[in-house]
């Protein structure tokens, strides 16, 4: 929140939507070593909806991949921390994204590499529900099933919103779990995609021979009452009273700058 506030950045609501998933992944699921970001057997994580990349930088700093002080360079001239997540010179960022519909296919390639190398790592990728408009998502869904990539987990951040409105009013995804099941995936419908214990339980599931899709029913702008389900906060940065109130609601008022 402070990064967006200080640097007049955007996409805070998208970051809040995925923050719980990322917290559970980084704290409890991913086998990674902040001291050795290139560890060959590390689990791979890709944020395919790269516009929420601020959440990756924050999580990596929190995990100790680089000092928290680095976060103040976000969005600044000459720094390496761009609005859409970029891997260059940022330890721990597995892959750069920003254009939608790329990350999941790359993740499938990484999962296939693990299979062929008989390496134990898993690959996790978060895609947006709006991102499921992209044809490549469904090309990937066919491919991963065909290749039996049971070491791949796709998390769909199903907050129901996309850049210009509600998904159902733009390109209705209808019953998303049924769609993924029809592509031959093991699907887990997580009722509250911002609930850590529900997410944790889902992330421990896998079925032999099938890729896993977790539909996380999230709330865009989660945790800040006036941002929740409000398209405006896909774009606007919180200033003044908005910022202070957001920090209070997140229980982070003492960190407000």
């Amino acid at each position: 929140m402070t990064m967006v506030h200080e640097h007049h950045a955007s996409h805070i609501a998208a970051a809040l939507s995925v923050a719980d998933m990322m917290a559970v992944l980084y704290a409890d699921i991913l086998h990674i070593d902040p001291q050795n970001p290139e560890l060959p057997e590390r689990d791979r994580f890709i944020l395919s909806k790269g516009h929420a990349g601020i959440a990756v930088y924050a999580a990596l700093a929190e995990m100790g991949f680089f000092p928290r002080s680095e976060l103040s360079k976000y969005y600044t001239d000459g720094s390496v921390y761009s609005g859409h997540v970029s891997h260059k010179e940022v330890p721990g960022v597995e892959f750069s994204t920003g254009s939608l519909g790329h990350g999941a296919s790359v993740a499938a390639g990484m999962a296939l590499a693990a299979k062929r190398a008989v390496s134990p790592y898993r690959v996790y990728v978060i895609v947006g529900d709006g991102e499921c408009d992209e044809g490549t998502i469904w090309e990937m869904a066919l491919f991963a099933r065909q290749q039996k990539l049971d070491n791949l987990t796709v998390l769909v951040d199903h907050n129901g919103m996309q850049a210009l409105g509600w998904c159902k009013d733009i390109a209705d995804l209808q019953d998303l779990p049924t769609k993924w099941r029809a592509f031959g995936w093991h699907v887990i419908d997580v009722k509250d995609g911002n609930d850590h214990s529900q997410l944790r339980m889902a992330l421990h599931e896998s079925v032999s021979g099938m890729p896993t899709c977790i539909i996380a029913n999230t709330i865009k702008g989660k945790g800040v009452s006036f941002m929740e389900n409000k398209l405006l906060w896909h774009y606007r940065d919180p200033q003044g009273e908005d910022y202070e109130r957001a920090m209070r609601e997140l229980g982070a008022a003492r960190h407000a700058k």
Binding site: S96, S105, L112, E139, M140
Partner: protein, 306 residues
């Protein structure tokens, strides 16, 4: 050319277990031997080039050398952003190998004629671009792209091309002289070199001494040779089965235009910023679009005499 390239790849895959071959459901009968010998490393990704290119990046970033095979336009223009963001930005070790460069697919029509691919691929940072003229160049290109780390684009024609080189090629990144000349030098890339060689003979009949060079590497381009010819001859002609914009002609123009000393005039021959809407064999199309030996000779003589 195609068969020799794939056969060579098969040989490399014997000793390098990190070599993968991905296809977008194309290569009937051409890829069978590779598929049979290395079933775990041959992946038919289906008719989904965008997914295939990103998958290739993911595979490559985990220690593999990934060859992606398809028809020219399908695996370049269709998935350009995947090539740019996923392959090139990440310097992924992906080799894009295509058939159907220029008019090789003749009567199949414009959808199957790759005529802007060189321009588009060479505009991408980190990408190398190769366009071999015969099976000998194709094999040399294979060994080059396999030994360099990072993205490469290899534009093949089809199959059944004649060998123009008797000897092995010393450095595939340099232009190869096929005929020495004084006043005019023809630079070509790909199989259309055959027309350039015929044109050079016809020019000789008109008393004009024309040299011919094959450029299997378009990026990196042989700047040294271009400069030398630009200083020492009167006219440089570029010839390619490709748009005149941005391909070999564009690359040569970029080099020459930055020279300070007086230099040769440049004539760029290729498709004149148009699509191949006329039906015909490769040879018919070369003639129709002014790229056969007779028409090249005529254009060069007109240019020479003015």
């Amino acid at each position: 050319m195609r068969n020799r390239f794939i056969k060579g790849l098969e040989q490399l895959a014997e000793t390098d277990s990190g070599i993968f071959l991905l296809t977008g459901d194309l290569g009937f009968s051409v890829l069978d031997a590779f598929a049979e010998r290395f079933p775990e490393r041959f992946i038919n990704a289906g008719i989904s080039e965008q997914n295939m290119m990103s998958v290739a990046a993911g595979l490559a970033l985990n220690g593999n050398t990934v060859y992606v095979y398809s028809i020219g336009n399908f695996v370049t223009l269709r998935c350009l952003e995947q090539i740019r963001n996923d392959v090139c930005y990440h310097s992924a070790n992906v080799k894009i190998v295509v058939v159907g460069g220029g008019f090789a697919y003749g009567q199949l029509g414009m959808s199957h004629h790759a005529t802007e691919d060189i321009a588009v691929m060479r505009a991408l940072p980190n990408m190398r671009v190769y366009c071999p003229a015969d099976p000998v160049e194709a094999v040399a290109v294979l060994h080059e792209v396999n030994s360099v780390e990072g993205p490469c684009y290899v534009r093949l024609a089809k199959g059944g091309e004649q060998c123009i080189h008797a000897d092995a090629i010393a450095d595939i990144n340099k232009a190869i002289q096929l005929k020495a000349g004084d006043c005019v030098n023809i630079f070509t890339t790909g199989t259309i070199v055959s027309e350039a060689r015929l044109a050079a003979k016809q020019l000789a009949d008109h008393g004009v001494s024309g040299g011919v060079y094959s450029f299997p590497a378009i990026k990196p381009i042989d700047t040294e040779l271009i400069c030398q010819c630009a200083w020492e001859s009167k006219l440089i002609v570029t010839l390619e089965e490709h748009n005149r914009l941005g391909g070999l002609g564009g690359a040569v123009a970029e080099v020459i235009s930055e020279l300070s000393a007086p230099h040769a005039r440049l004539l760029r021959l290729g498709l004149d910023d148009e699509y191949t809407s006329v039906v015909g064999s490769q040879q018919y199309l070369r003639t129709y679009y002014g790229l056969n030996a007779e028409k090249i000779t005529k254009r060069i003589l007109e240019c020479w005499e003015n």
